[in-house]
């Protein structure tokens, strides 16, 4: 962009071609008052408050409006001459003769030194700046507003003075009306937030505080642009041009040398365990639901409350829901005891509720864990050895008792107990993801009966798998807590980096090769290969072997009906020669 030399109130500066005086002045810190200007709309130049004097070197001079006068080489601008101040004052006084002294006008009057406007004040609150019409037209694209009538009768209305069907109730007009003439008070919960980006009703928000990646996201069903094709204000304010309205989910392919599988787990769904009333009683919640409620970004703002919004007076935390259970998962989920204790601690910090822990065995095996358990006991949490058996509504309820009755056998005192509580938290099992078998198949790794992936060797190769270059980390390999997950992930990363730092791998010299000229493309070999090393080349219409994956097991060699596959170093001729050698 060519630069243009101009002078504003004695400051020489360079401005880009096509800039208006207003922006150029701003760059050197000179503020020119405006009433009808807004950066993201075409200048309307109706209020004439931004009048300035333009001159050239030859003495030509003219009063122009700064908001829409483009700069040119050699332009001198004077923003404060008596002529322009006079014009601004007169125009504001004329406007005030019709308008109430709303704050924007009052401030401008103060700045211009108008104490008593010559023609007094009027009663109108609309100053005809047209911002509402233009925002609805140019930005929103709904075209729901217009100016009606001519001259002194000019007014802001909807087309034909009828309730407009074009309005999408976005509230932009009310938000940008400088005088408060347009209000949207009657439309509940639809107020736009001034910072444009982040409010629960804005169409573009950062979904929650700790979101990864921590960037705003567009809610397509609320976004004006998605409705009308207009607006795009967010794109205009973003200095880095990060907003892309037409972005879609995409499939990308990467060539990689190593894969770390860290697909984790899913929560066990306790609904089928009818005895706990999950899904039936609103105040029976799962552990993960408790975690969500407890988070500062939750709808309750991190407060622990019941469905009716009240704080619970007592909570029962039931361990081993779905874990160590013949009917569901036989394994121990390993993290529940500790997080259950953590919950107890959190609840005591935030509320004064009585807490009951119902456990089978307290497994506080990690570093510092046992100490934490002791601390919880000291905090006065009721810890009961005995699995929760049933949750039912309280029958003969007392005012100071909870609605829910938890039944269990306290095995330490060998007694059957019924505990009335307001809320029940079920510590549900960690279980393998539904799609774990897909992953196993795709990556050619093995999966145990409980759904966790199997490592190559429990002691010697705890993060490797049977497929070279595929490593395991975290719960997908078996239930574990975060410290263990992180440790295992570090190990997997180290393994992957070992491969990457070399940049190459040593391969066995023996692998299968398909001789293109003999392959009929029957694909019999493709599914037979236990290492998924064979794929079909759609272009050439033949099968090919990925030599890096091939373990030279020879299955395909034996199966190929065309005899197209040979195993290097194990060709028929070589084997015959070996046999001959042995026999000789």
């Amino acid at each position: 962009m060519p630069k243009i030399n101009i002078v504003i109130d004695g400051h020489s500066l360079q401005a880009e071609e096509g800039t208006y005086i207003l922006q150029a002045a701003k760059e050197v810190g000179i503020e020119i008052p405006t009433l009808c200007y807004y950066p993201h709309m075409v200048p309307y130049a109706a209020c004439r408050i931004c009048a300035v004097e333009a001159r050239n070197e030859r003495g030509w001079t003219k009063v122009v409006t700064a908001c829409n006068y483009p700069v040119w080489e050699g332009l001198h601008v004077h923003t404060n001459t008596p002529r322009v101040l006079n014009a601004r004052r007169m125009n504001l006084e004329l406007l005030l003769s019709q308008s109430k002294p709303v704050p924007v006008l009052q401030k401008l009057a103060d700045d211009l030194g108008i104490t008593e406007p010559r023609w007094g004040y009027g009663t109108d609150t609309c100053i005809k700046c047209g911002l509402c019409v233009r925002i609805c037209d140019e930005v929103v694209g709904a075209h729901a507003l217009a100016f009606g009538n001519r001259g002194v009768d000019r007014e802001i209305t909807t087309p034909f003075h009828l309730e407009s069907e074009d309005c999408i109730l976005c509230g932009a007009c009310a938000r940008y009306c400088p005088t408060g003439h347009i209000k949207m008070t009657d439309i509940e919960g639809r107020i736009l937030h001034s910072e444009l980006l982040l409010g629960p009703n804005a169409a573009i928000t950062i979904p929650f505080r700790q979101a990864v990646p921590n960037v705003p996201r567009i809610h397509t069903n609320q976004c004006i642009h998605m409705k009308t094709g207009g607006c795009m204000l967010c794109a205009k304010v973003c200095p880095k041009e990060c907003i892309h309205f037409d972005d879609q989910d995409e499939f990308e392919e990467f060539d990689v040398g190593a894969v770390i599988v860290a697909t984790g787990f899913q929560d066990f769904d306790p609904t089928p365990m009818l005895q706990f009333g999950y899904g039936k009683y609103p105040n029976v919640i799962s552990a993960i639901e408790f975690e969500q409620m407890n988070s500062a970004g939750s709808p309750t703002g991190g407060k622990i409350v019941m469905e009716n919004g009240k704080e619970p007076r007592s909570i029962a935390i039931l361990h081993c829901i779905g874990s160590r259970d013949q009917n569901y998962h036989k394994y121990c989920s390993r993290v529940c005891c500790m997080y259950a204790l953590k919950f107890a601690h959190l609840v005591t910090e935030k509320t004064s509720a009585e807490i009951y822990q119902l456990y089978i065995d307290m497994r506080s095996f990690g570093k510092g864990y046992e100490e934490f358990y002791q601390r919880i006991l000291d905090e006065g949490v009721h810890v009961i050895r005995g699995k929760g058996a049933e949750v039912v509504p309280t029958k003969h309820k007392r005012a100071d008792e909870g609605d829910l009755l938890v039944r269990c056998e306290d095995t330490l005192i060998s007694k059957f107990r019924e505990i009335p509580v307001d809320m029940v938290i079920l510590c549900t099992a960690l279980e393998a993801r539904k799609d774990a078998s897909d992953i196993a198949r795709k990556l050619n790794i093995s999966m145990g009966a409980d759904g966790w992936f199997i490592e190559a060797h429990p002691k010697l190769a705890p993060v490797s798998t049977t497929t070279d270059g595929v490593f395991l980390a975290g719960v997908c390999q078996g239930a574990k807590d975060i410290p263990d997950t992180v440790a295992q992930a570090g190990a997997a990363a180290a393994q992957a980096m070992k491969l990457m730092s070399k940049g190459e791998i040593m391969m066995d010299a023996a692998y299968a090769v398909i001789r293109e000229e003999f392959c009929s493309g029957c694909k019999i070999c493709n599914d037979l290969c236990p290492y998924t090393a064979i794929s079909y080349d759609e272009l050439k219409k033949i099968s090919t072997v990925n030599s890096a994956l091939c373990k030279a097991c020879g299955t395909c060699v034996a199966a190929c009906p065309s005899g197209a596959i040979v195993a290097r170093h194990f060709t028929d001729e070589q084997i015959y020669a070996q046999i001959e050698g042995i026999l000789a």
Partner: protein
């Protein structure tokens, strides 16, 4: 003759020659004006009566009845001219048709009662060319109207129509045309007076594509109707000008923006466009030259501001007709942000003349800075009103006296207002001491300078501007001593405030406030500081209005303040209206010259006047509403408009001095006659 497309300039020439030959039969032509003015006066009836009379005399074949557009002298309509002699009949009624046919056509005599009598010399004038109203004019454009049936493309071709276009398209380069227009010195007739050639050159240079040419036929000035007369009477001329312009600028599409109140103009224009298309003079491959151009007609809602270029373009785009700020010129970003050339009807109509006769010929007409002719709509207190086409540089005196025939009655000439509502009011003679004093005080005249005689002001763009008015689109309103200049300013400010689009503050609120101040002054409630406020406000409006409506709106106030300051002071300080028209400041009263004729009794809406026949009449001051109806009808100037409250005194004096009218004085007899 069947229509076949003309596919070369030679085709056009051949058609013309053929038509001329067919028509060269010495036939009598009865040319009846069918313009809007004469339509209103009943020319349709005249036409059918003439038809019937011709039929009766079995002359339908020999005599051609031609219904033409307006030649400008609407005041005398319906007009009938008999060619080839050029016998001019005015105020013709259907009943006169038979007379014309029998006496003039069959008998070869002039019908005396229908000829025009010069109001000054009282002489009857037979031939059109001798009529003073026409004689001093130079009717390059309007002159064709008498000979044209606007719905007949053949009439136009016979007169040499489309010849210039053929020449431009086949024998000239686009650059050469732009050069020619530049050289001719043609300036826009829509008001601004911008050099047309320069405008075309910028638009031609502009990079955008496509480009558009637009004809501004919005004509919102009240009282102006030259664009209407041209479009109604000679639409092909405007089309021809536009095709030449389009070719020179490099565009293929044009628009004519006509106000909806001009139905006849729209109708004739549409017919003309269709004909031109049929003849291959519009559309694809015009005259086989490979140049394509077509025209569309768009009807405007009729708001005054829609005549402003950016508002007009917005309106053409289907948006609200509201001006937009144009620091980027429309020749670069106009209609749909594309380069656009907007010219007035009259500007376009001048183009074929220039191409035909050459820039040298054209630039010899007019003054150094203003070339060619200009059509004015002459109205107000002059004997001859109508459209007058005069060479630039003609003096006001020639227009007002030689063409206009002077002020009717015994009233004194006071001022002339030019340039439409936002033009200025010019004092013409400074003989009145009041006015002279005011001009001296304002520095317009030195004290030792006897009189400022604007009557000899050459009328052109620059001189009018210098004198504090403007050419505008050519309105010219003549005012006599009965016009109050404050009231005149108020009238125009009122018009403008009603027409302001209301977008920008200085125009919307400035005009509203100005009108309030002027109303106050006219009601005798003005204060001295009002004059300062008016002047200060005018400057702010000129400086900061978004478009020229607001920017030139203070003209009526500033020009009257300049030439008639004294009259403002009379209203403010003396609470007196010198012209006697501001109701709140005058009392109507009857002096001793009253003859007791009773004429004033009937028009008085409040029955305020009493008096026996042939006795002094008296106005009951408590009943009089100062409507002035009596003043208008009294033939003895006996009704006086005096300062408010002074009425009783005049009446007392009249009672004392009044004598019954013994015998009519010679003067009174003349007046009654």
């Amino acid at each position: 003759m069947s229509i076949s497309k003309l596919t070369s300039p030679d085709d056009l020439l051949r058609l013309k020659e053929q038509l001329v030959k067919e028509r060269d039969n010495g036939r009598t032509i009865l040319s009846v004006c069918g313009g809007t003015g004469c339509l209103a006066c009943g020319c349709k009836g005249v036409v059918s009566a003439l038809k019937a009379a011709l039929k009766e005399s079995r002359l339908e074949e020999e005599v051609e009845l031609k219904i033409t557009g307006c030649p400008g002298f609407c005041e005398r309509g319906p007009l009938v001219v008999v060619y080839p002699e050029g016998i001019f009949y005015q105020k013709v009624k259907p009943a006169d048709a038979k007379l014309i046919v029998d006496q003039t056509i069959k008998g070869g005599h002039v019908v005396n009662k229908l000829i025009y009598k010069d109001p000054l010399t009282k002489q009857g004038i037979i031939h059109e060319k001798d009529i003073p109203f026409y004689r001093k004019q130079m009717r390059l454009l309007l002159g064709m109207n008498n000979f044209l049936d606007p719905t007949s493309i053949h009439d136009f071709i016979v007169l040499g129509g489309y010849r210039s276009m053929a020449k431009a398209l086949s024998a000239m380069t686009a650059e050469a045309i732009v050069e020619e227009i530049k050289k001719s010195g043609l300036r826009g007739r829509g008001g601004g007076g911008f050099l047309t050639g320069k405008k075309w050159a910028s638009c031609r240079k502009s990079k955008g594509d496509p480009k558009y040419v637009i004809c501004n036929a919005d004509e919102g000035d009240p009282g102006a109707f030259m664009d209407r007369a041209l479009l109604e009477g000679n639409p092909h001329l405007v089309i021809e000008g536009m095709v030449i312009g389009a070719y020179a600028i490099g565009c293929e599409e044009g628009f004519v923006y006509v106000r909806n109140e001009y139905p006849l103009a729209v109708k004739n224009l549409m017919i003309a466009i269709d004909q031109a298309r049929d003849y291959g003079l519009l559309g694809k491959n015009i005259l086989g030259t490979g140049f394509d151009f077509d025209l569309q007609v768009s009807r405007g809602g009729g708001a005054f501001v829609c005549g402003e270029s950016t508002a007009l373009m917005a309106s053409l785009e289907g948006k609200i007709g509201e001006p937009r700020a144009k620091y980027i010129h429309t020749v670069d970003a106009g209609l749909w942000e594309k380069p656009s050339t907007l010219n007035n009807v009259e500007t376009w109509a001048n183009v074929p003349l220039i191409i035909d006769k050459g820039a040298n010929w054209y630039s010899q007409i007019g003054t150094a800075g203003s070339k060619g002719t200009k059509i004015f709509a002459l109205t107000g207190k002059v004997n001859n009103t109508g459209l007058v086409e005069v060479p630039m540089g003609i003096t006001l005196r020639e227009i007002l006296y030689d063409i206009g025939g002077g002020v009717p009655g015994k009233k004194a000439f006071k001022a002339v207002q030019t340039g439409g509502p936002s033009g200025g009011t010019l004092i013409v003679e400074t003989s009145e001491p009041d006015i002279h004093e005011s001009l001296v005080a304002h520095g317009d005249v030195r004290e030792d300078e006897e009189a400022l005689n604007l009557l000899d002001l050459p009328v052109d763009f620059d001189e009018l501007t210098k004198a504090g008015s403007m050419m505008g689109s050519g309105g010219m309103i003549v005012m006599d001593q009965d016009s109050c200049m404050v009231d005149v300013a108020r009238y125009f400010i009122n018009f403008l405030q009603e027409e302001s689009c209301g977008k920008c503050i200085p125009c919307r609120e400035g005009l509203r406030t100005m009108l309030q101040i002027l109303n106050r002054i006219c009601e005798g409630k003005g204060e001295m500081k009002d004059i300062d406020t008016l002047e200060e406000m005018s400057q702010v409006m000129i400086d900061t209005s978004l478009c020229q409506l607001g920017g030139s709106a203070p003209n009526p106030v500033l020009s009257t303040l300049r030439y008639f300051r004294q009259e403002y002071l009379a209203h403010i300080v003396d609470k007196r209206c010198p012209a006697g028209t501001c109701k709140e400041l005058v009392s109507h009263t009857i002096d001793e010259t009253c003859t007791g004729c009773h004429v004033c009794l009937e028009p008085c809406p409040t029955d305020a006047i009493t008096g026996k026949l042939k006795e002094l009449h008296v106005i009951d001051q408590s009943k009089c509403i100062q409507c002035g109806a009596c003043y208008q009808v009294c033939r003895f100037d006996s009704i006086q408009r005096v300062k408010r409250g002074a009425g009783e005194a005049v009446q007392v004096k009249a009672k004392a001095l009044w004598k019954p009218p013994q015998k009519k004085t010679a003067q009174q007899t003349a007046a009654v006659a």
